[in-house]
């Protein structure tokens, strides 16, 4: 099978959210020595973007996105196991993400983490119910480009605000994006976040934009 066909096969299995097919295709691609950068850029990232477009067109739903996320994670794990340098060499940027204290919902955040992994970002997922102090501690440790604060509950806005205030007080320079159905442009401005996203896919697009602006700037 030609390299191009192999990349299409990987991309399609990711779009279809087929975990086993993705693993098989990646392993076969590596066996015939397809360049891992081609696999990453020509199959995995393209697949993730196409899935996002299908979601925007309301042909795909959260379940499809999550299945794709699993396939992407499996693919990335194989690549990272095979090529130690992949993480450093191809990383587009780093994101520290977590659901704020008092909120233990993680569905939207899980989707963001999966798809960011698939777009070659370094993602540090702190989990759920994360106090402001923990965000600060990890931000000092990892120095992320972007910090993502997730929350589903309406009451999480005030905790996002508290977290942002502490990050600023501690001089953390990372950009902050807030995510969840509760957020709006107004609430984003009110609590001092740099950007906001109402769902996982919008979050991916905004993080890409923030990081490319940061790198350019």
């Amino acid at each position: 099978m030609k390299n191009e066909e192999m990349l299409t096969r990987i991309k399609n299995s990711i779009i279809e959210g087929e975990l086993e097919k993705t693993i098989d295709a990646i392993n076969e691609a590596l066996k015939i020595e397809v360049d891992y950068k081609d696999i990453l850029n020509g199959a995995i990232i393209k697949g993730a973007i196409e899935v996002g477009e299908l979601y925007e067109q309301e042909e795909y739903f959260l379940a499809d996105m999550l299945m794709t996320g699993d396939a992407i994670n499996a693919a990335m794990n194989i690549l990272k196991d095979s090529f130690i340098e992949i993480a450093e060499e191809s990383s587009k940027g780093s994101i520290l993400i977590g659901t704020v204290e008092g909120d233990i919902h993680d569905i939207g955040k899980s989707l963001v983490v999966s798809l960011l992994n698939g777009q070659a970002f370094d993602v540090i997922d702190l989990g759920t119910d994360i106090p402001p102090e923990e965000f600060v501690k990890k931000a000092k440790e990892f120095k992320p480009d972007v910090i993502g604060l997730s929350g589903l509950l309406t009451m999480s806005i005030s905790k996002m605000h508290e977290t942002i205030l502490l990050l600023k007080k501690e001089g953390i320079p990372s950009k902050v994006i807030i995510g969840g159905g509760i957020v709006s442009k107004n609430s984003c401005a009110m609590i001092g976040a740099d950007d906001c996203a109402k769902d996982g896919w919008e979050g991916i697009k905004k993080i890409n934009k923030i990081i490319s602006n940061t790198k350019r700037g």
């Binding site: 959210g17 959260l62 379940a63 233990i104 993680d106 009451m155 806005i157």
Partner: protein, 361 residues
């Protein structure tokens, strides 16, 4: 002057059922949760729930403070309290997390982490769950003191998410039969809850159905009918009380679902475009609108009392003429919402919401 609860009951029930004659003004329905009660009463969630008397008094005082016409018990809702019942029945109370000033929560996906957990999941007996016992007793006290008819909450997907977490969405594609098995167990649990309510509280006058599946962000409408809609139809065969659909998602399937299932009212904050709601009212004249576009994370959180007044006015003049409109901010009122903004709601109703109401057109 004490708040006139008798008038509130009449106002709410008349509007809900579409009786305009003799209606004085537009009612105010607020979802008052433990966080908001904590804020008004200055006590913790555990203290609020420490006895039915305390719980009932806190709810009544909080509703009176904001001049809400309704009193709804937050723990009688198919969310964390139902997940709490499952956690207790399955010896998984470690998954429950208590907070001082907000509702208890469950770590999503811990109760049904594995497929085996679903297969072996025990259906709770609500009569043996302390939280539910407190809820039933609280409902009785509130009804006695305020005469406000108490309604209970039902919902399938809201509980599925709590028990199964993110895996529930993956099951839609990889294991739908297993997911339906979980839905079925939740359905049976909810019927147990309903039967207990009938026995301990009496007739359920209104069912608040939390239909989180009916949201484009969540799933297709076809899947929403499979994992939520079919169960509502089954509930409605068993329970003759009217149902209203609560959905605080940002892309709700209100129109689609009202074509398939009978609801007396819909309760949501989106879409934000008032034209959607004007058209909805024309197309579903027998469905009362509770809320429309009064989203707690917008004007209420970041605006001024004047902004809130304008938003309530927009809703009233467009949707209240002819009845069947209830002012309702959605969803729970977050900690950061300034109280003057909340109090701007009843003030705006006083200003613009007395019948006869002159419409926008």
């Amino acid at each position: 002057m004490p708040y006139d609860r008798t008038k509130s009951v009449i106002r709410f029930m008349k509007t809900l059922t579409g009786h305009v004659r003799g209606l004085d003004k537009v009612p105010f329905f607020a979802i008052i949760d433990e966080q908001f009660i904590s804020r008004i009463m200055g006590i913790t969630t555990r203290e609020i729930l420490s006895s039915p008397e305390t719980y009932a008094n806190c709810l009544i005082k909080t509703a009176d403070f904001i001049k809400a016409d309704t009193i709804q018990i937050p723990s009688a809702y198919a969310g964390p309290a139902e997940a709490y019942a499952f956690a207790e029945a399955n010896n998984k109370m470690d998954s429950i997390k208590w907070y001082d000033y907000k509702p208890l929560a469950i770590k999503q996906g811990e109760v049904c982490e594995t497929e085996e957990d679903i297969e072996k999941l025990e259906i709770p007996e609500h009569s043996k769950i302390d939280l539910w016992d407190t809820t039933y007793k609280t409902a009785n006290i509130i009804r006695e003191k305020t005469k406000f008819p108490q309604g209970m909450g039902l919902g399938i997907w809201s509980v599925v998410q709590e028990l199964r977490g993110v895996n529930a969405f993956k099951d839609i594609r990889r294991n739908p039969d297993l997911l339906l098995k979980l839905c079925e167990k939740i359905y049976k649990s909810q019927l147990d809850s309903y039967n207990n309510w009938m026995e301990k509280v009496g007739e359920v006058r209104l069912v608040m159905y939390t239909g989180y599946a009916f949201n484009k962000h969540m799933m297709s409408f076809e899947d929403a009918m499979k994992y939520e809609g079919q169960f509502i139809k089954r509930f409605q065969k068993e329970i003759k009380s009217p149902f209203f659909l609560h959905n605080c998602g940002t892309k709700p399937y209100f129109r689609e679902v009202c074509n398939e299932i009978d609801f007396i009212a819909v309760n949501g904050s989106h879409p934000l475009d008032i034209k959607y709601w004007i058209d909805f009212k024309k197309d579903f004249p027998k469905v009362t609108i509770m809320g429309a576009n009064i989203d707690v994370s917008r004007e209420l959180l970041t605006g001024t009392p004047q902004d809130v007044e304008e938003k309530v006015k927009e809703n009233i003049i467009n949707l209240a003429p002819g009845g069947r409109y209830i002012v309702s901010p959605i969803c729970c009122l977050p900690w950061g919402v300034p109280l003057p903004n909340v109090l701007a709601i009843p003030k705006a109703i006083e200003k613009y919401g007395h019948y006869p109401i002159k419409g926008a057109q």
